[in-house]
């Protein structure tokens, strides 16, 4: 693997609220390598979105952000707003969940793409417009030369998301941060956008930091996975390893819930929130031991694999990992069996 494009080390985002400090992100570390797709996987409230916002400087005071975030040669957390503006939308692009909201309703899509180009590049308006049409074609919009003059409301949700991707690609970024880019879309359009992202990262040599709770999108795109719970990573590793051998009890439960496996207690989670002491999952963990309650477990290699780690005492030397690994199921076992038997119409 080449040098990482993005290195996040010990990121903490603490929010001051009336009810005390909320540790939205609490010691998160990961890297995104060149051309690599890393997925931050977690439920709502796990801190995945605020982690991305903190990385890109979109969260300001009174939030307290600490840690190290290196993007290329720049330390993002200490960078000035001026430096950040030069980076954001240029070498680092951001794609939001709801494209209809991300686009400005009073400008044509062409103007919005051209703006992203002229902000960072010294090009003429005509050249920017030509490039906008090219980009619309790249993201698969038909009639690009006419659509360039249309307004967001004239486009469907799927097309808007394509335009948002075109804007993100406008300055040829090295890293694209995509926060739930397909969650607001219908299944069939979602599949098209997933395909498009898969294609773009190879044609544009793009690193992708993808935030999602949808395991199907993760399985389709991720090279590596970081599983988040309570603002911190609990498991990380190559996508195939994590999906096939989920090793942290939380990851296991998350994956099982996707398949709707029964047998767990069905109670709403406690309203006290996630504990800050010890392993953040210890109150809900079926395998909890005393050690989990006091110290945050360190990342330990899973079954002696070099790249697959889980922050769980059972993967350390003091406990037997067969306790948690005995009934592990691969996500592919939960898949729909669509034996679309027979041939197509040809």
């Amino acid at each position: 693997m080449t040098d990482p494009v993005l290195t996040v080390d010990g990121l903490r985002t603490h929010l001051q609220t009336e009810n005390g400090v909320v540790r939205a992100v609490d010691g998160l570390s990961f890297t995104v390598g060149g051309g690599e797709t890393v997925c931050l996987v977690g439920e709502s409230g796990s801190g995945k979105t605020i982690a991305c916002d903190s990385i890109t400087g979109l969260v300001g005071p009174p939030a307290e952000i600490s840690g190290d975030v290196r993007f290329g040669d720049t330390e993002l957390l200490s960078a000035s707003e001026r430096e950040l503006r030069a980076i954001r939308g240029d070498s680092l692009a951001y794609l939001f969940q709801n494209a209809q909201n991300a686009l400005d309703p009073v400008y044509t899509v062409g103007d919005q793409i051209a703006e992203a180009i002229t902000f960072h590049r010294d090009v003429s308006n005509e050249a920017a417009r030509e490039r906008a049409i090219d980009l619309l074609q790249t993201v698969g919009l038909s009639r690009a030369s006419e659509r360039v003059d249309e307004y967001p409301h004239e486009l469907s949700d799927g097309m808007c998301q394509r335009v948002a991707i075109a804007i993100a690609l406008a300055a040829e970024p090295d890293l694209l941060i995509a926060d739930e880019p397909t969650s607001a879309l219908d299944v069939m359009i979602q599949a098209r956008i997933v395909d498009l992202l898969a294609e773009l990262r190879s044609t544009h040599d793009l690193s992708l930091l993808l935030v999602t709770h949808d395991l199907r999108v993760v399985a389709a795109l991720a090279d590596r996975i970081v599983v988040l719970y309570g603002g911190t990573a609990v498991e990380r590793g190559p996508a195939t390893d994590v999906l096939e051998r989920p090793s942290h009890p939380y990851t296991q439960e998350l994956f099982r819930s996707f398949a709707g496996e029964r047998g767990r207690r069905n109670r709403p989670r406690s309203r006290e929130g996630i504990p800050v002491e010890g392993c953040r999952f210890h109150q809900e963990c079926p395998h909890v031991v005393d050690a989990c309650k006091h110290t945050r477990p360190a990342f330990e290699p899973v079954e002696d694999r070099e790249t697959h780690h889980a922050a769980c005492v059972y993967h350390g030397d003091d406990y037997d990992d067969s306790t948690v690994m005995a009934e592990v199921k691969s996500t592919s076992e939960f898949d729909i069996d669509t034996s679309t038997g027979g041939e197509r119409d040809d």
């Binding site: 030369s145 399985a219 389709a220 691969s330």
Partner: protein, 446 residues
């Protein structure tokens, strides 16, 4: 599951007028639900799946007459729902409860949970307040909350908890049927699984019949006994969940299912070749003729006399759709065709050769098609877009465009509305179970 039919829907229609101007002259109609028929059997979970805008939510609202159906029949325990008096309708709406997608907007923020849950009881005539409170406490406990939560306000709860409260509110009046419109779509991960599991438990415990509306194939697969697939206001396929998901017949269902990414990390790409021709759902105010899926269908049936490959047929259809796109004029089309290729040559055959290249049409085409493409090119050169469309349309006449397929009952429990499965119509079935030969034999036997 018994075979007793609780709720039956026949040719349900809900149209909305589109009006214009001061006099609100009607200029068109949105056919949100356009002839939907299904039955809910006692104790079953029936799922309606489809993309947003296909009319599944309108179907649910029409069932309760929250949106008055414009045509069709709804029968509840064999009574005509559309014929109900006010008091009968109220009783019907007690027995058929609605649970909505967004738990945040489902509650009045100024009412405590207790008040919100007592309200339906009061509406339905329970005056004894101690009894109301007892029922509410019981309902809250059954959905996994605490009786003391009665005094809290909705904003004090998380999304998952609010959806539990919404379920409790539906249950307090002891309904027979729950219409759940995307009940877990606003939730994710374990919360989604928990609420879905709760709904299942309650269904068993209270012997409920559930109509579950969802765009999420994973949700209906887990929850429903039978599912109906909706497309632009119509059911295109209906049958037992396993049968529909494992051997989907309709090209739309097949495209829908193949667009669900695999959970196997070793299969990186999602596309499996059953994609639709275009991304977007047509406008419900301007529904395509014949089979409403035909402009997006990759399995569209060629004309009887088609004598070239199905690949060529599909390319020709793509060319036709391209011409029928909303071009402002032929110049815009010419610009688009010229883009990225060699320079535009002025000459009669230029449009034709551009179209042939763009859609990779083979050197030799059936004569009629050959002529049509040449004539279409000539028409474009004359700035006559309508003429060009007409030329191509004439050689691509298909049964899918001309006749609307109906749900066949060829498969007793698994029905599909597609000409390919109709023995009277041309075209072969997609799942290999009904070859043309089998269809012909069947037709001969009739």
């Amino acid at each position: 599951m018994t075979e007793e039919v609780i709720l039956s829907v026949r040719n349900l229609e809900k149209q909305y007028p589109i009006t214009e101007g001061l006099l609100r002259r009607e200029v068109g109609r949105v056919r949100a639900v356009d002839g939907v028929s299904f039955e809910l059997h006692a104790g079953e979970a029936f799922g309606l799946v489809g993309e947003s805008g296909c009319g599944k939510s309108t179907t649910a609202l029409s069932l309760l007459r929250l949106e008055e159906p414009t045509a069709g029949e709804i029968r509840f325990h064999d009574e005509d729902v559309l014929d109900y008096s006010r008091s009968e309708l109220r009783e019907y709406r007690r027995r058929v409860q609605l649970v909505l997608q967004d738990p945040d907007s489902a509650f009045n923020p100024r009412l405590t949970v207790g008040e919100a849950l007592e309200e339906p009881l009061r509406v339905h005539g329970m005056v004894d307040s101690t009894r109301r409170q007892r029922i509410v406490t019981d309902a809250l406990e059954r959905v996994g909350l605490d009786g003391d939560d009665r005094a809290s306000y909705p904003h004090e709860f998380s999304g998952g908890q609010k959806q539990r409260i919404a379920l409790a509110r539906a249950l307090v009046v002891n309904p027979d049927v729950i219409l759940a419109d995307e009940p877990v779509s606003a939730l994710d991960g374990r919360t989604k699984a928990d609420v879905l599991e709760l709904l299942g438990d309650l269904q068993t415990e209270f012997d409920l019949t559930v109509l579950l509306i969802s765009h999420d194939v994973d949700v209906v697969r887990r929850f429903c006994d039978r599912i109906g697939v909706m497309y632009l206001g119509k059911l295109v396929e209906c049958g037992p969940t396993q049968s529909v998901l494992e051997t989907p017949h309709h090209p739309y269902t097949r495209a829908l299912l193949s667009s669900v990414p695999s959970l196997d990390a070793h299969t990186p790409a999602t596309a499996t070749g059953e994609q639709t021709l275009t991304d977007d759902l047509p406008d419900a105010a301007d529904i395509p003729s014949g089979c409403r899926f035909h402009p997006r269908c990759r399995a569209i049936i060629p004309p009887e006399e088609w004598e070239s490959s199905s690949e060529t047929w599909r390319r020709l259809m793509e060319l036709r759709l391209y011409l029928e796109d909303d071009w402002s004029d032929t110049e815009a089309l010419a610009r688009a065709l010229a883009d990225g290729g060699r320079d535009w040559q002025s000459g009669d055959g230029e449009f034709e050769s551009r179209l042939r290249t763009a859609f990779a049409l083979p050197e030799t085409l059936p004569e009629r098609v050959e002529d049509a493409v040449a004539d279409a090119g000539a028409a474009l050169a004359r700035n006559d877009l309508a003429g060009a469309r007409e030329q191509v349309r004439a050689v691509t006449a298909t049964v899918c465009e001309q006749e609307s397929p109906s749900l066949t009952d060829e498969y007793t429990s698994h029905t599909v509305a597609c000409h390919r499965y109709d023995p009277e119509k041309p075209g072969e079935a997609l799942d290999g179970t009904r070859t043309r030969q089998a269809k012909e034999e069947r037709t001969d036997a009739n």
